[in-house]
């Protein structure tokens, strides 16, 4: 699916751009965004290094495992292919907690740490595991308690009571997360998306 969507974005972009007569802007956007992508990735180096360092300390001290065991009643059903006290579970919980609190800077490095830990359990290194798909399903559907930036924009535009979007936002994001979890479980059963057993087995 990702291949098709990618091709559609590229092809329709250039074709519509040519028809609309703004092909130069489309080309410029392609080049500019390639640069932006590199800048985003390089911008992650510092924060990534910091969090991977602190997470390693937490791991050595047994904190990550402890955390993983503590919340395993909640995560057991969601990540059944990850052992109960595996550090991946600790990193997943820390990432989700950072997301909920709106700590964007911490959330990404912790999430990437979780992906690294999940990758250690993966026998087919170029293919996503069930646990990875579930983790990203929850992650991309985002549970944020306080949409701070949006409240800021509403308030600077002269909104009378910008914080009243919080209730509806929490409801909407909860629905999207619930749908993500259900869709992940159901779609994972389709033959097309199933892993063959010789390709992958949970350790």
């Amino acid at each position: 699916m990702i291949n098709i969507i990618w091709a559609v974005l590229i092809l329709s972009g250039f074709i519509v751009g040519a028809i609309n007569g703004n092909i130069q802007e489309v080309t410029d956007a392609a080049i500019a965004n390639a640069e932006t992508a590199v800048n985003i990735a390089l911008g992650l180096i510092g924060i990534m290094t910091l969090w991977l360092g602190i997470m390693k300390v937490a791991e050595e001290a047994g904190i990550v495992k402890g955390l993983a065991r503590l919340i395993s009643p909640v995560t057991k059903k969601l990540f059944s292919d990850v052992p109960a006290d595996h550090p991946a579970r600790g990193a997943i919980v820390m990432n989700l907690a950072a997301n909920i609190l709106g700590l964007g800077n911490a959330a990404t490095p912790l999430g990437l740490k979780a992906m690294q830990e999940l990758q250690k359990l993966n026998n087919k290194k170029d293919t996503a595991t069930d646990a990875m798909v579930m983790f990203l399903a929850i992650n991309t559907s985002s549970v944020t308690l306080i949409p701070a930036t949006t409240i800021g924009i509403l308030s600077s535009a002269g909104g009378t009571n910008p914080t009243n979007i919080i209730g509806p936002t929490i409801i909407a994001t909860t629905v999207s997360t619930a749908v993500a979890i259900i869709a992940c479980k159901l779609l994972g059963k389709l033959p097309k998306y199933q892993l063959k057993h010789d390709e992958y087995s949970a350790k």
Binding site: G17, A30, A41, L187
Partner: protein
Amino acid sequence: MFIKIVEAISRYAIPFIFVGIVGYALTKKVKVYEVFTEGAKEGFHTAVRIIPFLVAMLVAIGVFRASGAMDLLIKAISPVTNLLRIPAETLPMAFMRPLSGGGAQGVKTDIINTHGPDSLIGRTVAVMMGSTETTFYVLAVYFGSVAIRKTRHSLPVGLLADLAGLLTAIYISKIFF
């Protein structure tokens, strides 16, 4: 009150994590400095590994946005969305949200300034913003960091969740505001 508490937690979460981890590790006789640098050395490679995935994704999204193809898509789909009683003004936000966080931020600000921060449309797009994440970006960065190219059902799951979140945002706003 609720906001104040959450804000305080957010402000103190990271200091608390750092002090807690380093302090506890000391009691466990972990060589904190040495272990920190050992873990930290992976940071550079992780960040650099993301580059090809992020370039692929952001270039495709940039090309699509700059071309005006999104307006065509919105026109094509508007009979269906009209039937579902989705306000046409919110459609750019609905399509931008999964593609680009910055783009969605821009669309949201624009709509809020055009329709007013207290209007139904303005508040609806504000709720839409928080209802879900930038699916394409997250998938590129997270899978990219471990060099996974076969993402299986991740994208359909992410997009279904986006759809559910965005529709809920639109309908719940009609009830609330």
